[in-house]
């Protein structure tokens, strides 16, 4: 990244980034700008460089932090009213690792409250606008981070992906977005949405930047028992010659926008022309992934959001004379409709009498989906699919139709259920100039090869 070749000072980079951030303020990208601290930190980096002291791999590189990562810089709100005023005394492991390498957070980015959404319209701070069409959604839930990178305010931004929250906004804004293998990056200090599918990941402008970020952020963390033993750094890069690429046949149906199908077909041709083998895959269980996802995830959401009660931190409703009122008012006022929708669905599928028919059933469906991916990866090295069935849609278009909104995640959620990594890759634009994104999917722990191989999909022109 820029600072690596010391053409500019860290302070210059940070000031430029902050300038751009303000210039694009009407896009609602940021929930907080970290001006004072960022500039202070930049000066310190410049001093070190001048003094010839050792600096980290990201020394002076400005970045944007999705507002569901805990750190003492600014309020951590997850764009939710109920976390209003919450300044965290602790720092997320991922943030700590980036800052230890000298990266400088210039602001916190907007998201759907608690990452519940695919458009960033469910934010307490209002929607973020698409980088290519102001009237369209940024995608979500990591909409702010995607647009911040797409508008080149920063070179990278953090995100979280529970069912597509990195890949879909990345594809809506024409940048790279990685959802790593589950357990690759610590979730410690990241506001939990669904514990068994949440992944920390990044938005970047190039595969090489993505690789640097992953080598820094990945690794086992004693504060997150579900992190995998380090593998990213030690992974032997495989040759990118003559790979077998799977195309899921069950998907090419009318539900996917023709222009996106065309983009996929073109990339398939490109891969063939570069000597790779294309293999048709049938993965019938995947059509149940979305239903399973919208049982398992709301259940974990309802559970993880139980701690927001106004007692210990964040928003507390004023007019409460009894404890019950405190809970009831705080949660009634503090959650957005989409939060309530998901909490209620979660409590429905977990409630006595429905657990077996819904939650347990979905947990079994998950086993089948995992099995289908394992079978697929015995035949192919990677799978190439669209990220979402359509490009960025209009603001307000789906906000009152939750099912239509959920269908946005049709092709992204199965990866989260299976724990496999997926990289959203820019794949040109449609007639109206909206970015199209494809996702490259690999087996667990293949993150590094996934990133390397994605270069095979770049046209060299």
């Amino acid at each position: 990244m820029k600072i690596a070749n010391k053409t500019v000072t860290a302070e210059r980079l940070v000031r430029d980034a902050l300038e751009k951030a303000k210039h694009f303020s009407d896009y609602h990208i940021f929930t907080f700008l970290n001006e004072e601290n960022a500039i202070k930190k930049a000066r310190e980096i410049d001093r070190k460089i001048a003094a010839g002291e050792k600096v980290g791999r990201l020394a002076g590189v400005p970045y944007a932090l999705k507002d569901n990562f805990l750190s003492p810089e600014g309020e951590t709100t997850a764009s939710a009213h109920i976390l209003e005023g919450f300044v965290s005394p602790v720092t997320a492991t991922a943030v700590k690792k980036l800052e230890d390498e000298g990266a400088i957070m210039i602001g916190r980015t907007n998201l759907d409250a608690f990452a519940h959404g695919s458009s960033t319209e469910n934010s307490y701070f209002g929607p973020t606008h698409n980088a290519f069409d102001f009237d369209r959604v940024a995608g979500g839930s990591s909409g702010g981070s995607a647009v911040a990178v797409a508008l080149d305010i920063v070179e990278f931004a953090t995100g979280t992906d529970t069912g597509g929250s990195i890949r879909q906004p990345a594809s809506f804004n024409g940048v790279y977005g990685l959802k790593p293998t589950y357990g690759c990056i610590s979730r410690y200090g990241v506001v939990a949405m669904a514990s068994s599918t949440d992944c920390v990941g990044f938005f970047a402008q190039t595969p090489d930047d993505m690789d640097v970020l992953m080598s820094i952020a990945s690794g086992q963390d004693s504060k997150d028992m579900t992190t995998l033993p380090d593998y990213y750094g030690s992974a032997e890069p495989e040759s990118t010659n003559k790979r077998r690429i799977g195309i899921i046949k069950d998907f090419d149906n009318e539900s996917v926008d023709p222009e996106i199908q065309k983009a996929l077909a073109q990339k398939v041709e490109l891969l063939r022309s570069r000597g790779h083998e294309i293999v048709d895959l049938s993965m019938p269980s995947l059509k149940y992934a979305l239903a399973a996802y919208y049982i398992i995830v709301p259940a974990e959401v309802a559970s993880n959001l139980s701690r927001y009660d106004g007692v210990r931190y964040g928003f507390r409703s004023k007019e409460s004379t009894t404890l019950n009122e405190l809970y009831d008012n705080t949660r009634s006022e503090g959650f957005m409709s989409e939060n309530k929708r998901r909490i209620m669905i979660g409590n429905f599928v977990l409630s006595s009498g429905f657990y077996d028919a819904y939650f347990l059933k979905a947990a079994k469906a998950r086993t089948l989906i995992i099995g289908e991916y394992e079978k697929a990866f015995s035949k192919v090295d990677f799978i190439l699919t669209p990220v979402s069935p359509n490009p960025a849609f209009k603001l307000g278009e789906k906000v009152n139709d939750p099912i239509a909104m959920y269908l946005e995640d049709m092709m992204s959620v199965s990866l989260n259920l299976a724990g496999v990594p997926g990289l959203a890759i820019p794949a040109g634009k449609n007639k109206t100039g909206l970015p199209i994104g494809l996702q490259l999917v690999g087996p667990r722990r293949s993150d590094k090869n996934l990133i390397q191989f994605s270069k095979e999909l770049e046209e060299n022109d």
């Binding site: 569901n68 990562f69 805990l70 951590t76 997850a78 976390l83 919450f86 965290s88 005394p89 602790v90 997320a92 979730r187 410690y188 200090g189 990241v190 506001v191 939990a192 669904a194 514990s195 068994s196 004693s222 504060k223 997150d224 028992m225 579900t226 259940a299 974990e300 309802a302 559970s303 959001l305 139980s306 701690r307 927001y308 009660d309 007692v311 210990r312 931190y313 404890l323 809970y327 409590n347 977990l350 409630s351 006595s352 657990y355 939650f359 947990a363």
Partner: protein
């Protein structure tokens, strides 16, 4: 009584691990300031994740083995949801579907066996203190490791309920998994009790009495419920299924409004903690660490130590451990010193942590059985063994220094006796004795004792006197 009470008991045991179940903070909150043992994880900040304490797993295995329970090699955690300020996460992490401890049994002193249904590992809740129009929340106790022991409904009397709870307490202390401090709530009991006609084969409607924290209150609460429920049934009415609270002052149980109305806990497998898969080797290694249990001591000391003495000493694992090391022929002797001397002392609790060596105790018992020490002298030496100034010197030395060794050498005694009999002032007494005045022998013995400066063994002296005055 024409009704048979059927009682099942759930017992919560706070484990004495150094740190909490899910965070590395001090687990011993006794006499500590409110919220001084709380980590961001216990406080349930957003994005905090549990960090399982492996020692709690080991403790649970030992506790299970102490109750003759199966240890389930595969177990995992679940979330139990309810909203209350004592539960910062909004759920308790427990083991609903796959508990670590399976079926077993506890044998009461009477020999009755109470079956254990299962026992599971879970985090404790915080504490609320209620005032007129507000409550204060202290989270020190949040996620202190607990095991909840669930018995089968095998108990049918207040006494057995009492004995079961007390035996559990002993087992947990022998297994060394809890401080067992009832006053501080280290063990708490929930009692389910129902009455049914003796002949009937199905159970009656049960009441649950929650949060009892002494064996006595368990016994009294059961006694009270038996009377209360009998009255209801006699009147031809129905017992309602409900949770009741126990008031120690009034000696009554009263109906209690449950914490939350909708009792749907929406159990869900805990996604933040990987499952536990134990090997039999791992389990056995922990089981090996268990010392002898009360039931073993009852066998070992049957006909050696009086039952009531033994049952008293079984409340003190430290004493039993020591007693176990002592040569059996002295066990009775020492057990009496423990029961009647040590435990009678004010400082007995201090003494328990600093017991005399096996050698000192053996020497002492030996001197006593050899009549070198009178029983009073034995007690005195025994107590000196706890005296920081003296204990280093050993029983024998202490006995000598205090000049408590009795003179048993018959030859030596005879010369003293002769000397006494030669004294003119004893002439009258001698004559009176010969004339058949039995009681004057006491006077003569006294004289000899005086001559021997109290070191003579009185019974031996009397024998010699009788010989000489025939």
């Amino acid at each position: 009584m024409k009704y048979l009470p059927t009682i099942g008991i759930e017992c919560h045991v706070q484990l004495s691990t150094k740190t909490k179940l899910f965070s590395e903070v001090d687990n011993d909150a006794r006499n500590k300031e409110p919220n001084s043992c709380v980590s961001p994880v216990d406080y349930a900040l957003p994005g905090m994740l549990p960090r399982l304490n492996g020692e709690a797993i080991r403790f649970a295995i030992r506790a299970g083995k102490a109750m003759n329970c199966e240890i389930n090699l595969e177990s995992r955690f679940d979330r139990k949801h309810y909203f209350y300020p004592d539960s910062p996460k909004g759920y308790q992490i427990t083991q609903f579907y796959r508990p670590i401890i399976g079926a077993g049994y506890v044998e009461l002193p009477s020999g009755t066996r109470i079956r254990i249904e299962h026992a599971h590992l879970e985090g404790d809740a915080g504490k609320l203190t209620h005032f007129d129009n507000y409550s204060l929340v202290d989270l020190n106790r949040v996620d202190t490791p607990l095991i909840e022991i669930v018995s089968q409904p095998d108990i049918h009397s207040a006494k057995d309920a009492h004995d079961y709870c007390k035996e559990l307490w002993r087992l947990m202390r022998f297994a060394n998994v809890t401080y067992g401090d009832l006053y501080n709530g280290n063990m708490r009991f929930d009692v389910n009790i129902s009455l049914a006609p003796k002949d009937s084969d199905k159970l009656g409607v049960r009441a649950e009495i929650k949060n009892l924290n002494s064996f006595r209150s368990v016994e009294r609460a059961v006694e009270y419920e038996i009377v209360r429920q009998t009255k209801i049934l006699e009147a031809g009415e129905k017992v309602i299924q409900e949770t009741r609270g126990w008031n120690d002052a009034t000696g009554k149980t009263t109906e209690q409004r449950s914490k939350e109305e909708a009792k749907d806990y929406r159990y869900m497998p805990e996604p933040d903690i990987p499952p536990i898969h134990l090997t039999t080797e791992f389990v056995d290694e922990e089981a090996m660490r268990l010392p002898l249990m009360p039931v073993d001591y009852r066998k070992k000391f049957d006909n050696v130590i009086a039952n009531d003495t033994l049952e008293v000493l079984l409340d003190y694992p430290e004493l039993m451990l020591k007693l176990g090391e002592i040569n059996e022929k002295y066990a009775k002797n020492i057990s009496n010193l423990f029961a009647s001397v040590l435990l009678a002392e004010e400082k007995s609790t201090e003494y328990l942590n600093d017991l005399p060596s096996v050698k000192d105790l053996t020497d002492l018992a030996e001197m006593n059985t050899k009549k070198e020490l009178s029983s009073t002298a034995t007690k005195e030496v025994f107590l000196r063994l706890f005296d920081p100034q003296m204990k280093g010197r050993g029983s024998k030395q202490i006995a000598k220094e205090l000049g408590l060794i009795q003179e048993n050498d018959l030859g030596a005694l005879e010369t003293i006796v002769d000397a006494v009999l030669a004294k003119p002032e004893t002439a009258k007494a001698q004559a009176d004795f010969r004339a058949g005045e039995e009681k004057v022998i006491g006077f003569l013995v006294g004289q000899v004792m005086k001559e021997s400066h109290g070191k003579a063994n009185p019974s031996a002296v009397q024998q010699i006197l009788r010989e000489k005055l025939k």
